[in-house]
Symmetry: C2
Subunit: 92 residues, 2 copies
DNA sequence: ATTATTTGGTTTACAATATAAACTTATTTA
DNA sequence: TAAATAAGTTTATATTGTAAACCAAATAAT
């Protein structure tokens, strides 16, 4: 009847992040924080979860002297997003 | 950028219930429990929340001698569902 | 030169949620 | 009349989501 919704994506902030990464391929922490209007703390936690699940890859580097965390979606993450969108359709 | 998702509907079970009620107009507790594959306890709690928010109306009556709880969606609930679907589009 | 502020985060503590287990009350069935 | 089933509700627990507090480094102000 209703398809299960991946709990990892069924969260406003994580869904926003993945949604952005699906089209952008790469985005840094500050960009994501601004686009999602989230706090840094919350974003940090949610990025870790997505990373833990293998949905995104996180690279910590530097932009000049300032730290710069960049994220990109993985194939797993892209697939999960597609599945999520598909599953949602069963509710409408 | 991303529209806020009504937390009351952004829950698999509550969304399932509202989704059913939007097209069915009326459904009883047992029907909802079966269609959503939920436990009675969980369903009971979530129905209360939807009712509390004015998204559904709950009527407790009898079918013969057995108790029968029937639910129907309210105009508020129907509108909230539409808004939720609309908001979701901003993520895709 | 030292102090204060900003930047880019992470950790942690707390509040809210979701969920199932346990319970209740009434009704059949054995 | 005892056991099982039905239809829920209540309550306890585990999981989440979130922001506040924190930290380290860089830049700006005095």
């Amino acid at each position: 009847m209703f398809k299960d919704l991946d709990p990892l994506l069924h969260s406003q902030l994580r869904l926003s992040v993945v949604s952005l990464l699906v089209s952008l391929e790469e985005a840094d922490f500050v960009f994501l924080r601004e686009k999602t209007s989230s706090t840094a703390g919350n974003l940090s936690v949610q990025l870790d979860k997505l990373s833990e699940a293998g949905y995104i890859e996180i690279q910590k580097g530097y932009s000049g002297k300032r730290p710069r965390t960049t994220c990109r979606i993985t194939e797993t993450g892209r697939q999960a997003f597609e599945d999520y969108v598909e599953a949602l359709k069963s509710y409408f």
